[in-house]
């Protein structure tokens, strides 16, 4: 592995008592990449980010961010990174502009530069009109955008976004995605993004790592990971009591994949060509079909295949 990569993690562990929140993870993020760190709540995403952003000391292993060690050169790491935390950690009593100014002072940005940069960032994240209002009056989306602006005031080379869109409405979410893309494209900022949304990782990330139970279970480009899954997923709604019978009837057609209650999902060997065979098999078994769909391999399938279960709150939950 190259030690010049903006993020380089080797055998990183963090224990809380006997519990391993992060268990021996390795990863490397290349310069200018958007890296998606995907996993359910409690998987170890935030603990990893806290270690990489110097907020927590690793139990063992090491990590370098922007070329500096997160333990022995924590101060240099802090100078090089921008962080937008989960829940937009901002003081509601202060105004957006005051918070930007404070952040600039904390990062040693000169007063002149801070003024120019604040205006530019406020414009950029669409908060110019609200910059003198107290943050308590901001909507969730506005807070996240301010948080992003604050994390950029000192022009960091590495940006950490910890679940940046959790709790946001679809419009605000897509606006934030656009901004992250623009940043990455225009300034070549390396971004490590943690998320529990498959769609977010799919939309934004050049590479992703799936973390589960403190360990990285898959890592690679989303397209490559999806390709590796191979067959598309067929999802058939058969009613709760018929799921096992349907599974038996479809055994020959492909391996079963995790699905919602009352449905059966499997990786359909041969893809669309075998869809009719699946319908026939269920018909022969006297099982009624309420709904059927065939999807190309998705990150959800990658996650399911890697962990043996579906990701809570994944986009498919809403659609199926």
């Amino acid at each position: 592995m190259s030690k010049e990569s903006p993020i380089f993690v080797e055998n990183l562990c963090r224990k809380f008592g006997s519990l391993s929140a992060v268990d021996n993870i390795n990863l490397e993020v290349a310069a200018g990449q958007i890296f998606g760190f995907l996993g359910p709540n409690g998987a170890g995403k935030s603990t990893t980010v806290r270690m990489l952003t110097t907020l927590m000391t690793p139990t063992s292993g090491r990590a370098r961010v922007a070329g500096y060690d997160v333990v022995s050169e924590a101060d240099m790491v802090r100078r090089s990174i921008g962080v937008a935390l989960q829940d937009a950690a901002i003081d509601p009593i202060m105004t957006g502009r005051e918070l930007l100014k404070l952040q600039a002072v904390l990062h040693g940005v000169s007063r002149k530069r801070s003024k120019v940069k604040s205006e530019e960032l406020l414009e950029r994240v669409g908060l110019k009109g609200a910059s003198d209002k107290r943050v308590a009056q901001y909507s969730g989306g506005m807070r996240r955008r301010l948080d992003l602006a604050m994390s950029l005031i000192h022009e960091p080379t590495v940006l950490f976004l910890d679940e940046p869109t959790t709790g946001l409405d679809p419009t605000s979410r897509s606006a934030l995605w656009d901004e992250v893309r623009r940043l990455n494209k225009e300034f070549g900022t390396t971004v490590l993004l943690t998320t529990q949304y498959l769609e977010e990782a799919d939309q934004l990330a050049d590479r992703i790592a799936i973390i589960d139970g403190g360990s990285i279970v898959r890592e690679g480009r989303p397209a490559t990971l999806k390709e590796a899954i191979g067959d598309p997923t067929i999802r058939i709604e058969v009613g709760e009591k018929n799921v096992e019978a349907a599974a038996l009837a479809l055994t020959a057609l492909g391996p079963r994949r995790p699905s919602l209650q009352g449905r059966i999902a499997l990786g359909l060997r041969g893809g669309g060509e075998n869809m009719a065979a699946a319908v026939r098999a269920l018909d022969d078994a006297g099982i009624q079909i309420f709904h059927i769909e065939l999807d190309p391999p998705s990150l959800e399938d990658v996650f399911a295949e890697a962990t043996g279960r579906r990701l809570e709150g994944s986009e498919k939950d809403g659609h199926e």
Partner: protein, 253 residues
């Protein structure tokens, strides 16, 4: 580092100004209790041994220190809030030295303490307290005010850095209350009895009160009282400062 301290302290000042209810509360209690105590215990002064024949003179310095101490623990409350909403993590992720974070946070409380104690002093003067020792008396009085604010800030911060939880907040005032009231806050050593007398003799706050009260005592400022008070104050501030500092270092654990 200076700029960072100013930045963090400035935020403390902005918060104080924008949350007047907190400021009003920190002024209300010491002034209210001052007025109550001088009325309620007016007759107690006849026992003698207080170093003054004015109950107002006896209570003003104590109430100023009480106001300053409670203003100090306000720093703990706002930091516990910052920790719960994640803002404190933002400070910790900035390249600012940890000492600047500690000093900057305390500074906001210090300004509040000076304001509160000055209001209490003004009320005391209105109600009849009469200073006896001129500028030097006031100098040591305000030294004690600043010291007690620093001490109580460090006490609250030490707890909040260690426990990282707002539920620890009720302990802030309890600690301050215990430390203040088990001293010569209400009556001098020769008037107190039993366990209180035993503890008050050993409680360094007694010496700090001695330092502060010089401005209103009949004998005025004496070097013995000043030196004892300063040593006690230094001891309290340094030990609680170490408590806060080690808590901050442990925060990242």
């Amino acid at each position: 580092m200076m700029l960072s301290i100013v930045g963090i302290a400035g935020r403390g000042v902005i918060r104080t100004i924008r949350m007047p209810s907190v400021l009003i509360q920190s002024v209300f209690f010491p002034t209210f209790f001052f007025v109550i105590y001088i009325g309620l215990y007016a007759g107690v002064i006849t026992l003698g041994g207080f170093g003054t024949s004015s109950i107002e003179n006896w209570y003003v310095p104590f109430m100023m220190l009480q106001g300053a101490s409670f203003a100090g623990i306000g720093v703990g409350f706002s930091t516990s809030l910052d920790i719960s909403n994640g803002f404190f993590d933002r400070l910790m992720m900035s390249p600012v030295s940890r000492i600047a974070i500690l000093v900057g946070s305390i500074f906001g409380g210090l300004l509040r303490a000076l304001f509160v104690s000055t209001v209490v002093l003004a009320v005391g003067l209105i109600f009849g307290a009469r200073p006896t020792s001129g500028i030097m008396g006031f100098f040591w009085l305000y030294t004690a005010v600043v010291g007690m604010c620093l001490a109580s800030s460090c006490w609250a911060l030490g707890l909040v850095y260690r426990f990282k939880d707002q539920r620890i907040a009720p302990l802030f005032p309890i600690g301050v209350f215990m430390a203040l009231f088990t001293s010569t806050a209400q009556v001098p050593l020769n008037v107190s009895t039993g366990w209180l007398q035993t503890i008050a003799q050993r409680n360094p706050v007694t010496e700090v009160l001695g330092l502060a009260r010089q401005s209103f005592m009949d004998v005025g400022v004496t070097s013995a009282e000043t030196i004892d008070g300063l040593i006690a104050l230094l001891l309290i501030v340094l030990s609680l400062g170490a408590f806060a500092w080690s808590g901050l270092r442990r925060y990242l654990g």
